[in-house]
C-alpha cells in the first residue's frame, strides 16, 4: 500500500509543481522552465501508470518493479498469492492500459506530424523561392505576414513576401535567428510529448494549458537566442509589427490569435531582468526528485 501512496503523492506533487511552473518567473528563465515541464510530464505519466499497478500489487508488499516480476512469475506457475484477486489484476491491467494509450498517442502524433511535415516540404519545393535578401531561407509569395520553421533533420526557415515588406533588415535578421534557434534546439521535439498528451486527454483543460505554457516558453527561448545576436530592439520591433499588422488590416477589433502572448514577449524584451538563479535551481531540484521517485519504484 505504501507504494501506491508514493505514486499518489507524486501525482499531487506534479500538480503543485505545475502551479509553480505557471508563474511568471519562468519567463526570465525559459530554458530551466522547459526542462522542469518535461520532468513533470514524465513523472506524471509514470505515476499515472504506477498508481493502479501499485494498488493491484499491494499483496506483494514490494516495490512495483520487483512486484511485477513476481506477479509474472506466479502467473506463469498458475499460483497466485493469497489476497490477490481479480480486482487487483484489473488494477495492474489498467496501469498497463494507461501506458499503452500514452505510447500509442505519442506514436500516432509523431506519425501525423511527420506526414504533415513531408507534405509541407513537398509543397515548398514546388512553390517557394529563394531570395538574395534572406539567404538560407525560403520565400512564399503571399501578402500576409508569416515566418516559421519547418522542423526536421533538414529544417527549413520560411518567410512570406508579406513579412519581407513588413520588417526592416535588422528585424528580419532577428526573426530568422529566432526561427533557426527553433530548428537547432529541436523545439518541435520539446513540444511533442505535450502535443501527444493534449491529444490523449482532450477533455482536461489543464493539459491544454500546459501545452500553451510550454509553447510560449519555447518562443521565449528562441527570442533569447535572437536577442543574444541582435540585441532587443529589432526583435521587439518585429514582434510589434506582427501585432500591429492585425490592426492595419482590420481596424475594428477582431483580435489576432496570439495577441496576449505577443504582448508578453515584447514586455519581456523591454525589461532587463537577471535570471532568477535561486528559484531556477530549486525548480530543477524539485523536478528531478519528481522524476526520480516513480523511476526508482519501477526499477527496484
Amino acid at each position: 500500500m505504501a507504494y501506491a501512496v508514493h505514486f499518489a503523492a507524486t501525482i499531487l506533487a506534479c500538480w503543485l509543481t505545475a502551479q509553480f511552473l505557471s508563474a511568471t518567473w519562468t519567463w526570465r528563465a525559459p530554458r530551466v522552465a522547459i526542462l522542469c515541464w518535461q520532468a513533470v510530464g514524465l513523472a506524471l505519466g509514470l505515476s499515472a501508470m504506477g498508481l493502479p499497478m501499485a494498488l493491484g500489487l499491494a499483496a506483494y508488499d514490494r516495490p512495483t518493479g520487483s512486484a511485477l516480476v513476481a506477479l509474472a512469475d506466479d502467473l506463469a506457475h498458475g499460483a497466485l498469492p493469497p489476497g490477490l484477486g481479480v480486482a487487483h489484476l484489473v488494477g495492474v491491467g489498467v496501469g498497463f492500459g494507461i501506458g499503452a494509450v500514452l505510447l500509442t498517442t505519442t506514436v500516432r502524433s509523431v506519425h501525423g506530424t511527420v506526414r504533415a511535415q513531408r507534405r509541407h516540404r513537398d509543397l515548398l519545393t514546388l512553390v517557394a523561392r529563394q531570395d538574395p535578401t534572406v539567404p538560407g531561407a525560403l520565400v512564399l509569395d503571399h501578402p500576409s505576414a508569416a515566418a516559421y520553421c519547418l522542423p526536421g533533420v533538414r529544417p527549413r526557415v520560411v518567410v512570406s513576401a508579406g513579412t519581407l515588406s513588413l520588417l526592416d533588415r535588422a528585424e528580419l535578421a532577428a526573426v530568422l535567428t529566432h526561427e533557426r534557434a527553433h530548428a537547432q534546439e529541436r523545439h518541435d521535439l520539446v513540444l511533442l510529448p505535450f502535443t501527444a498528451l493534449r491529444r490523449a486527454l482532450p477533455w482536461f483543460g489543464w493539459v491544454a494549458d500546459a501545452y500553451e505554457r510550454v509553447a510560449l516558453l519555447v518562443e521565449m527561448r528562441a527570442d533569447d537566442k535572437a536577442r543574444e545576436l541582435h540585441a532587443e530592439a529589432p526583435l521587439a520591433g518585429a514582434l510589434r509589427r506582427f501585432a500591429a499588422c492585425d490592426n492595419r488590416i482590420t481596424p475594428h477589433g477582431a483580435l489576432g490569435v496570439g495577441d496576449r502572448d505577443l504582448d508578453v514577449r515584447v514586455q519581456r524584451l523591454l525589461v532587463a531582468d537577471r535570471p532568477p538563479r535561486l528559484i531556477g535551481a530549486t525548480a530543477l531540484a524539485v523536478a528531478s526528485t519528481l522524476v526520480a521517485l516513480p523511476i526508482s519504484l519501477f526499477l527496484s
Partner: protein, 147 residues
C-alpha cells in the same frame, strides 16, 4: 534543394504555365519539349510526372495510348494552403511547424480559405486532396468529428 525536387518544380511550372487553351492537360512529350533546354530523357520526365501523380500534385487522364497530365491545384492554391498551415489555420492538430508569431485576423483567414474554396468549385474536394492525396475522405470525416 535536391536535383529531383528541382525537376519536379520545373515540370510543375510547365503544367502551371501551359496556356489555358490546353487546359485538358499536356502529354509527357509536350512537357519534355517545353523543358528542351535541360536535355531530359523522355523517361525521366515520365518518372517525375509519375512521382508527382503519386503525391497527388498532378492528375492524369488516359487519351488513346498516352496520358494527359494537369496540375491538381493552382500554384496560388498551394501557397494559400502553406500559409494556412503557417498561420495555424489549417485545422491540423499536429504541431508540424513552429511559428514566429500567430498574428492573423478572421478576415485574413477567410481570404486564405476563399483562395482554396474558389478552386474547390472547379474541382470538387480539392482541399481534401491538398491535405492528403490518398486518404482524403476518411481523414476529412475524422477531422470533422474531432473539431
Amino acid at each position: 534543394m535536391t536535383r529531383l525536387g528541382e525537376l519536379e518544380r520545373a515540370v510543375m511550372d510547365v503544367l502551371w504555365d501551359s496556356v489555358p487553351g490546353t487546359s485538358d492537360g499536356v502529354t509527357v512529350r509536350e512537357v519534355a519539349d517545353a523543358l528542351r533546354g535541360r536535355e531530359l530523357a523522355y523517361t525521366t520526365v515520365m518518372t517525375v510526372l509519375d512521382r508527382l501523380a503519386g503525391k497527388g500534385m498532378v492528375q492524369r487522364e488516359r487519351e488513346g495510348r498516352a496520358w494527359r497530365y494537369r496540375a491538381a491545384a493552382s500554384r496560388e492554391a498551394h501557397i494559400a494552403q502553406l500559409m494556412l498551415d503557417a498561420l495555424d489555420l489549417g485545422g491540423s492538430r499536429d504541431a508540424a511547424l513552429v511559428r514566429f508569431a500567430r498574428s492573423v485576423t478572421g478576415t485574413e483567414a477567410d481570404v486564405l480559405r476563399a483562395a482554396l474554396g474558389d478552386e474547390a468549385d472547379g474541382a470538387a474536394g480539392l482541399t481534401d486532396r491538398i491535405e492528403d492525396p490518398r486518404a482524403g475522405r476518411a481523414r476529412a470525416a475524422d477531422e470533422a468529428t474531432d473539431r
